[in-house]
Amino acid sequence: MSPVLSGVLQLTALVAALALVYRPLGDYMARVYSSEKHLRVEKWIYRSIGADPDAEMRWPAYLRGVLAFSFVGVLFLYLLQRIQGILPDSVSLGFTAISPDQAFNTAASFVANTNWQSYSGEQAMGHAVQTLGLAVQNFVSAAVGIAVAVALVRGFARSRTGELGNFWADLVRGTVRVLIPISVVGALVLVACGAIQNFAGIHEIGRLTGGTQQVNGGAVASQEVIKELGTNGGGYFNANSSHPFENPNAFTNLFEIFLILVIPFALTRTFGKLVGNVKQGYAILATMGVIWLGFTALMMWTEFAGHGAALEAAGGAMEGKEQRFGVGASAIFGVATTLTSTGAVDSFHSSFTGFGGGITLLGMMLGEIAPGGVGSGLYGMLVMAIIAVFIAGLMVGRTPEYLGKKIGTREIKLAACYILITPTLVLGFTALSMALSGPPESMLNTAANSVDGSGAHGFSEVLYAFTSGANNNGSAFGGLNANTPWYNTTIGLAMLLGRFLPMVFVLALAGSLAEQKPVPETAGTLRTEKPLFAGLLVGAILIITGLTYFPALALGPMAEGLS
């Protein structure tokens, strides 16, 4: 079997698996977020929080819940890292306290569902920080994302109210009924295939030629599964999902890609169910699916072609890739992780071909909406849908409507603010870093180190870092030494602003939509469940992203890919 055919078959198997669970999971999540019953464990949790799960919230109250919960999350995680040095060795593994700038960066990163890592997991974080801090945010930051998406969907579904549900109930249900059950099963699948799950410290095992070698222990499988399922991406180890203890074979590799994509895709079904028209969900699904498959095809093409002076000398793009996965499986993983807000890697994007690296960058620049992070993908895509119906409305001179709601001045202003946030953060911080004298010194692939002396890849490293941070991805062109006060601070800010400012606009939008009365459908209404609209939406996404980022992409990956 040729490697290309193997890659195509793996992609086919992945699509089949996603299709199989699409309806059951999507319908299940719709029931979870609309059920009036509370499980016993949930009632106990609500009592501990002191919250009434049946109290409806308007958007400012919902937003306060999101921000308060995330704020204490950052604080808690920061303090946990700062006190690591005084924890007993059995839970700290003897690692010292994390420095203030790095602890801020990491706390912001995990609460913002980004999981950018300026540290090497196996050399910095003990059991306490990993399981009590990082793994917990893997769950709850994902549940917050889904909650905000569900609130926006309720904004479309409800009329003449303004009430968006209860944040605490959505947070707890997402964690208890969706994320934990899938994680328990998934973690055991990973262990059955060879991922580790223990609380041993760094210990010695033998070597074939004699002597010993040190090896890590850790609760890896239980963190690995939620890292993918919650589109988090922060590796237990520095090598992330390429580490054999995180991702032992080609099956687990495909399984992890499945976990990354399953909730974001299935949420389109949940959306269709909750707005009372599953076809509207299919149109969003089709838009996401077309972009995802297109990107994957392009990635396979460029990675199998393997252009680039060093890769051509080696005879293929295997630098930074594992033998058990190969080029095809690595290409599928690379696209899935950057079109969602995951950022886990099974191969190192910095050593991809010039265009391959560009595809990972562009995937994040689309705003991670195809299918995007858990929750954030759906609300990002719905904001783009609002922009698309607005453009369509301009073409025919009608007031745009979407799902029976008028898209008026207020809605468009909120949507426009939403889509301006990340480009502002990405391009602003990148420009600032390039203009200062210190930050460019962190680059690995400098002009002096490149074959043609262009240094385009070094610029890409910086652009990638802020694109990854502001879009809450977390993957990296890892050559950049990002553990400096400058990058720890600026990327930390980019992650927090890139996560929570958009949520402000999404919830305000949800509140505004929920207050409206529905407009009846007429012969002139744009049919947003039809392929024509999905096509319009794909076009709008590509054009808006293209216009925003083309100059920056031309300086980095395009210059490298064309040289």
Partner: protein
């Protein structure tokens, strides 16, 4: 004003309590339950798939390791032992010091496709592997010329294993056909016939080789 301050405190308090109780659920109960079941049902795998030979631990099936002589080469790195099959190059920790296949340091080179540094490494590896195995430089496969993603890749391609068979046979005083057969027996196909790449686990192959050399 007082009203909004106290309501802010109330919601932050609720957030803190929510975080603590969810930390208990997701950060204590969940990992302990998974660890308990994993340790009971998949004890060896959950603890790192350690391999034993001759009654002692010789490494982990999942992780690559080095097979070196005691001697050091001109560059200060230990020389590879010709009696053993050799793994892929490892770039883990290479940015700071040579810690290749030191298992508590994982990672990749992150060098770009148009990197001069990577180009030089690839050319150097091609010459080294060809000279070490006594084969023509053009026959060296891509996995032997590139560093893996984890820096701990336990596998090599069947091509790279076959390329090393003659040299390994000679160094161990074994018939070349027997070593080639060993390679074929230790070649794992794609998972379920189509997932990932064909590969040879270097540790398992070397264990079998040592058995063969002893008998």
């Amino acid at each position: 004003m007082n009203n909004s301050v106290s309501s802010t405190f109330r919601v932050v308090g609720a957030g803190l309590r929510a975080l603590l109780v969810l930390t208990l659920v997701c950060g204590v109960i969940y990992p302990l339950v998974v660890t308990g079941v994993a340790q009971a049902a998949f004890h060896d795998k959950a603890n790192g798939s350690e391999v034993k030979a001759d009654g002692r631990s010789v490494g982990s099936e999942r992780l690559g390791q080095r097979y070196d002589l005691d001697k050091k080469g001109k560059d200060g790195n230990p020389l590879p032992d010709p009696k053993f099959f050799q793994p892929r190059a490892s770039a883990a920790g290479a940015n700071t010091e040579n810690t290749q296949y030191k298992i508590v340091v994982s990672g990749a080179s992150n060098l770009a496709a148009d990197s001069k540094v990577l180009l030089t490494s690839v050319e150097q590896r091609r010459a080294d592997v060809a000279a070490f195995n006594g084969v023509s430089p053009s026959s060296v496969p891509v996995d032997a010329l590139t560093a893996s993603a984890s820096g701990l890749d336990p596998d090599i391609s069947p091509e790279y294993a076959r390329l090393q068979a003659e040299r390994v046979a000679k160094a161990n005083g074994l018939p070349a056909a027997a070593v080639r057969k060993l390679v074929e027996d230790h070649t794992d196909g794609r998972v379920l016939g189509f997932m990932g790449n064909e590969r040879v686990n270097v540790l398992k192959l070397n264990i079998a080789l040592r058995e063969l050399a002893k008998s």
